[in-house]
């Protein structure tokens, strides 16, 4: 084993390897480039590592197969990854900023008395030190960090790295680890209400954030969505209020969408939300705050109050439609 190995903790989402896992492999490739380090993958499942073939871009895949790993619960996952870390002694452990990764990364770091960083957008190994760039204060600031200790546990932001391809010559090794259920156990996965529309399949999305201010103002966004033949969606605070169902939530803990047009109204652009729309073709953001992080990621920006601007836009679009 090399001193520069990178271990990727793979995730299975909805029956297949998650997109963020492939991005982690891409990130690992950057880190190990020229260092002689290997790209290692921890694949935890109850299906004998059936998804290993999609992780072929790695050098070595360790599959841990156990019924306790069919669904996430803290102890089996922590114990399995910990054991692999002890065996392989990687320099860096990469995890996604996912619902699982956010629980695991700091816990692993604490167990190994090692450093952990979150919201990572980029990194490099520079003369033995690991340097990372992270998003700070909901994207309003950028922090550059230096980490000396090993292993370093890094939670990576989605969309920060190019995904690796699915082909390669990885070796697969099945690892047998004694696992216990622990005090926190999985009981049931409760899926979304299927009767609502699937915003991940929509071409045009009009998304509202806190800038909408009142539930009563939602109709401004609805009219705009209607004239564009699109669907309404929102950032988490709007769903928390109950103004839209959870199936309309875009972001880390909601839906990942890939529309042709994403119109963000009154959304500041916190990283958790931005993760949801990394796949949008054209993003237009309307916000009164010129410093709002969303203006970095959007293609076009309008520094206005959505309550004034959105109705104007609806009118302009109606006129253009008639003229067309």
């Amino acid at each position: 084993m090399s001193e520069q190995d990178v271990l990727v903790v793979a995730e299975i989402d909805g029956g297949s390897i998650s997109d963020s896992t492939l991005e982690l492999l891409g990130a690992a490739a950057e880190l190990t480039d020229g260092s002689g380090g290997r790209i290692l993958v921890a694949l935890l499942s109850d299906d004998g590592g059936a998804h290993a073939m999609h992780l072929a871009a790695a050098d070595r895949i360790f599959t841990v197969d156990d019924p306790l790993l069919a669904n996430y619960s803290p102890q089996p996952f922590l114990d399995a990854v910990s054991e692999l870390i002890r065996r392989e002694n990687p320099r860096v452990v990469l995890l996604a900023s996912s619902t699982i990764g956010l629980d695991l990364a700091p816990a692993l770091a604490a167990r190994f008395k090692a450093p952990c960083i979150g919201n990572c957008r980029g990194f490099a190994i520079d003369g033995g030190s690991l340097k990372a760039t992270c998003s700070f204060c909901a994207g309003k600031l950028v922090a550059e960090l230096q980490i000396e200790a090993k292993p370093a546990f890094i939670s990576v932001l989605p969309g920060a790295f190019h995904p690796a391809g699915r082909t390669g010559i990885a070796e697969v090794e099945s690892v047998s680890i004694q696992l216990e259920a622990g005090a926190i156990r999985f009981e049931e996965m409760i899926l979304a209400d299927a009767s609502d529309i699937d915003i991940t399949q929509q071409d045009v999305l009009v998304s509202v954030g806190r800038g909408i201010q009142q539930e009563d103002n939602m109709e401004i966004a609805e009219e705009l969505a209607e004239v564009l033949h699109g669907a309404l969606c929102a950032s988490r605070p709007i769903v928390d209020q109950g103004w839209l169902p959870a199936t309309r939530q875009v972001g880390k803990s909601g839906m990942i969408v890939k529309p042709r047009l994403y119109l963000a109204l009154g959304i500041s652009g916190a990283p958790e939300h931005m993760e949801g729309l990394a796949g949008a073709e054209v993003t237009i953001a309307v916000n009164t705050d010129p410093e709002a992080p969303i203006f970095e990621a959007a293609d076009y920006g309008v520094e206005m109050d959505l309550l004034d601007f959105a109705p104007e836009l609806t009118e302009a679009l109606k006129r253009k439609k008639v003229a067309h």
């Binding site: 009142q214 009563d216 103002n217 009164t288 309550l307 004034d308």
Partner: protein, 408 residues
């Protein structure tokens, strides 16, 4: 634990009547003869489960439980029609409603979420919009007249201008603020502002029933004003004006104050010769509830409008004491969702139609909320090509050659 209050009640609303009667203004509640004029006059009375008359009935029966948890509690928009018309002169809007709302909050009733946010913003930032207090004077950046910032210099001024939350932060209103600044300078008035130290006067939350929050703001403002030397406070916002006239004195924090319409009307002799450019249009004026019904001032805004060359002033059928409220007061700005959810309507939608029916091309207003409310309603009613909304200040400034005609 949610009902853990300073004095635990056996049942919800217990002792409400006694508490109300202990205030001098609340004593009149016993004079109510249940005539129903209040409920009949209330623009939203038909949608309320407990309009004023029924509320008083329940209070006298000592049965407030169903009232406090009813959506009616959050449907009053502070228009004062009931107060003005009550034959027994009971202080309904300013005393009964805040008392009911205050008790509801104490009992753990959760106000509509938008209202909660407004109150929290007020508490944390001193403005309902939740904007950074440090940016409160940004509207005056690059202003072409000097601004005396009393948070930085201790100068004696004639006018301490309390700009207000919307006029400080909201783009549509900032236009009016800048025009007013230019006007006062042109008139040779010595004026100053509190800059980033300015806080809301708290009129909204007083009517929301947030007495604790109001007290906090009164204390802060009293201290701020006492440190300054001025002859009068001038306000753009009628609600704040009414708070200073009616409520602040009850806390021993009374200061001389004028709404800008009264203030400028006093300067008419000096102002008239400056109104050199004609503004030819038919204008109808909407009486705001606080300066109008509550404080009885109807003529100064009209005097100002009639002084503008080219302006033809026409009246809506419902004017002065009978003007129909825009629905923005008493927390109304944050209650449209709640009101429409419970069978009410947006009053400004109806009022803009009344304005357009006069044939006027301009609806003149003198309240910061009304600009956005009526412009919004004009769009909803499809009337935005027929009638525009302007603050009186904007029309005066146009005639003085202080702005570029169309909102700049």
């Amino acid at each position: 634990m949610i009902h853990q209050t300073a004095k635990p009640h056996e049942h919800v609303g217990e002792g409400f009547l006694e508490e109300l009667l202990s205030h001098p203004e609340g004593h009149d509640i016993l004079a109510c003869m249940q005539c129903g004029t209040c409920s009949g006059s209330c623009p939203l009375g038909q949608s309320m489960e407990f309009p004023p008359r029924r509320m008083i009935l329940q209070a006298r029966r000592r049965d407030m439980e169903s009232v406090l948890s009813s959506p009616s509690v959050w449907m009053c928009v502070g228009c004062y029609t009931c107060t003005l018309r009550c034959p027994r002169e009971i202080d309904l809007t300013d005393t009964l409603w805040p008392a009911v709302r205050d008790r509801a909050l104490q009992e753990g009733v959760q106000p509509p979420p938008e209202l909660q946010t407004a109150l929290q913003n007020l508490y944390m930032y001193g403005n309902v919009l939740g904007k950074s207090p440090r940016k409160r004077l940004d509207w005056a950046k690059d202003l072409d007249v000097p601004v005396t910032d009393l948070s930085k210099e201790h100068t004696e001024v004639d006018v301490l201008w309390l700009v207000g939350c919307y006029p400080s932060y909201y783009p549509r209103n900032q236009v009016v603020s800048r025009a007013f600044a230019r006007m006062m300078t042109r008139l040779g008035i010595s004026w100053g502002v509190l800059g980033v130290k300015e806080k809301s006067l708290g009129d909204c939350d007083r009517l929301f029933g947030e007495e604790g929050l109001f007290e906090t703001l009164v204390e802060t403002n009293k201290e701020l004003f006492q440190r300054q030397k001025f002859k009068t406070l001038v306000l753009l916002d009628p609600h704040s004006y009414r708070a200073l006239q009616v409520f602040y004195p009850r806390y021993d924090a009374g200061f001389p104050a004028q709404h800008y319409t009264m203030f400028l009307a006093d300067y008419l002799d000096k102002l008239k010769p400056m109104l050199t450019r004609p503004v030819p249009c038919k204008v109808t004026y909407h009486d705001n509830c606080c300066v109008g019904r509550r404080c009885g001032s109807y003529e100064p805004p009209r005097e100002l409008l009639e002084a503008i060359p080219g302006v033809e002033l026409v009246e809506m059928e419902r004017n002065r004491e009978n003007a129909l409220c825009c629905g923005g007061g008493g927390g109304g700005m944050w209650l449209d969702g709640h009101i429409t959810e419970h069978g009410g309507k947006r009053l400004s939608d109806e009022r803009i139609r009344q304005a357009a029916a006069t044939g006027a091309s301009v609806l003149a207003v003198s309240c910061p909320y009304e600009l956005s409310r009526f412009e919004d309603s004009a769009k909803v009613a499809g009337l935005e090509d027929q009638i525009v909304v302007r603050d009186i200040i904007e029309l005066l400034a146009e005639s003085m050659g202080l702005v570029e005609g169309d909102n700049s």
